[in-house]
């Protein structure tokens, strides 16, 4: 009988907690919005006041917030920014494939695949450990000097290669977490239908694994988009490099702000998409389980 009682009281408790968090009592919606508006206005008002009344504000405003400099440098920086877009579009595509390969290598069972697993582990350890900036320097200046046959020597190429190497290590770990999160009974079910190990991976394990890791995957790509600026260090004139050029010509720092703004505008949609996907998955996993 005790069990029956617990079941009865369960939904009531859960219900009252939910309404407390969502604050759905009638007539309160308008009031919370008003409070939110006032507190936001107060907070940002105070912040602005602190900055504007600071002793150095006049100079900083001239150096960083010059409308004239903004208009003048914007077109060139935007032009250069397309190189960043190009870099991360190419890099992301390659990373999606190579990282998956590395993750699968690391997930192979049995003693036969030991060398491949070791290779996978060594790779991820190495490229997650070395700072991206060093990989770019070493490959950007070192690899072209090797004069490898059939490989381009352009800094653009080696910059992209560096980003691919570094980010594939991160993304491989994300994939691997996804693969390991799929319960082994799924593989047992697939194998007992007669599917081979590879077919089980392809049709049953990976589709579920990838779906689960889309949010953290996009998170890594937001990081990658910012790091395209590091490629400037070995030569290519992308947005950051272009803003440096502008700054050097005018002794005004507003172009940096232009570049920062462009990067933010690029990452915000991806960040919101990630949030939306996470929220959607949460809704689904709650809806999918009948109590």
């Amino acid at each position: 009988m005790a069990g029956g009682q617990g079941e009865r009281s369960g939904p009531e408790v859960a219900g009252s907690r939910a309404s407390r968090i969502l604050d759905v009592r009638p007539g309160q919606g308008g009031r919370s919005i008003a409070i939110a508006v006032v507190s936001t206005a107060f907070f940002f008002g105070l912040l602005t006041l602190v900055v504007v009344t600071s002793p150095g504000w006049a100079e900083v405003r001239q150096a960083f917030f010059s409308g004239e400099q903004f208009r003048e440098s914007f077109p060139d920086i935007l032009d250069a920014f397309w190189l960043n877009v190009k870099i991360f579009l190419i890099a992301e595509t390659v990373i999606l494939v190579t990282a998956l390969l590395i993750a699968v290598l690391r997930s192979l069972p049995g003693p036969v695949f030991f060398p491949l697993r070791v290779l996978g582990i060594a790779y991820t350890d190495l490229f997650r450990g070395i700072p991206t900036i060093l990989v770019i320097y070493i490959l950007g200046f070192g690899a072209p000097a090797l004069q490898l046959h059939g490989l381009p020597t352009s800094p653009f190429f080696w910059g992209v290669v560096s980003l691919v190497l570094v980010y594939s290590a991160y993304v491989a770990e994300v994939y691997r977490a996804g693969i390991e999160s799929v319960h082994q009974s799924q593989e047992a079910a697939a194998r007992s239908l007669g599917l081979s190990r590879f077919q089980s991976l392809r049709f049953v394990i990976l589709p579920q694994a990838v779906r689960r890791v889309v949010p953290p995957l996009l998170n890594d790509f937001i990081g990658l988009q910012k790091d395209t600026a590091l490629v400037a260090l070995i030569g290519p004139v992308e947005a950051f490099r272009q803003s440096q050029i502008e700054v050097a010509g005018s002794f005004n720092y507003t172009p940096y702000l232009v570049t920062a703004l462009l990067f933010v505008l690029l990452t915000i949609p991806l960040a919101r998409l990630t949030d939306w996907l996470i929220a959607r998955d949460r809704r689904r996993s709650l809806a999918g389980r009948p109590a």
Partner: protein, 250 residues
């Protein structure tokens, strides 16, 4: 009569724990054999060994005259001929019911997509699931999911079906619909090896019941005989507990 399945001295240990201590069992074609016994007596492990999901330590398993535990046997080819249904259904959650059923036929048997779908729809209709073909597993009740799992195994046209406590995870009111499906299979002549806790079901459906205790078949015989007048004290003890729990009427 041909033997559908033959086990000779099958042993299996997990570390120091011996789960199967020399199992001898022969199943005729079209025969339905139920395995009963307490949890941990080795019923599930036995089924998993027959499906080669668990490698055995010693002994032999022969299916339709072919020794499947021999060296160098292609396990994928063997598993095609043996259908297994698990307690936890294990449907693929990212696929529709229809795709769950056609995956094996299209990828393993290389049946064309259209032929596989036609066959799958026919099977789903036969087991009252035709209107669920486009649904995803999480929209189905436990009983429906388990019936889909049975259909998925049947779609491979197996010679032998292994059912591993397929009603244990179900709410009591959903058990009947799944048992009805299994009765239908038995009527159609499917050879089955069934691990179950449903004693009255076992009495109805089985040609023979085997009582497993500590990894060996302690006693076997026709259902009425074994359930009414068991020879072994251990079997009597087990059945008395089942009767006390109200799971078997006498």
């Amino acid at each position: 009569m041909t033997l559908a399945l033959e086990l000779e001295g099958v042993r299996k240990s997990f570390g120091k724990l011996e789960v199967l201590g020399g199992i001898d069992l022969a199943v005729d074609e079209h025969e339905v054999v139920c395995l009963i016994g307490a949890s941990g007596s080795g019923k599930s492990t036995l089924l998993r060994c027959v499906n080669l999901i668990e490698p055995i330590d010693s002994g032999r398993i022969v299916v339709e005259g072919e020794e499947i535990t021999a060296r160098g046997v292609d396990v994928d080819r063997i598993r095609r001929r043996i259908g297994i249904v698990y307690q936890a259904y294990n449907l693929f959650p990212h696929m529709s019911v229809l795709r769950n059923v056609t995956l094996g036929p299209t990828e393993v048997l290389k049946t064309s997509r259209s032929a596989a779908e036609a066959q799958a729809l026919e099977l789903l209709r036969r087991f009252g699931l035709a209107d669920k073909a486009r649904e995803y597993p999480d929209r189905l009740s436990g009983g429906q999911q388990q019936r889909v799992a049975i259909v998925r195994a049947l779609a491979m046209r197996p010679d032998l079906m292994l059912l591993d406590e397929v009603t244990s995870a179900l709410d009591p009111e959903l058990v009947a619909e799944v048992l009805e499906v299994i009765r239908e299979l038995a009527r159609s002549g499917m050879t089955m090896l069934i691990a179950t806790h449903e004693m009255s079901f076992a009495r109805d459906i089985a040609d023979r019941i085997c009582f497993l205790d500590n990894g060996v078949i302690l006693e076997e015989g026709p259902p009425e005989e074994l359930l009414r007048s068991p020879r072994e004290p251990r079997t009597r003890q087990f059945l008395q507990r089942v009767i006390d729990a109200g799971r078997l009427a006498v």
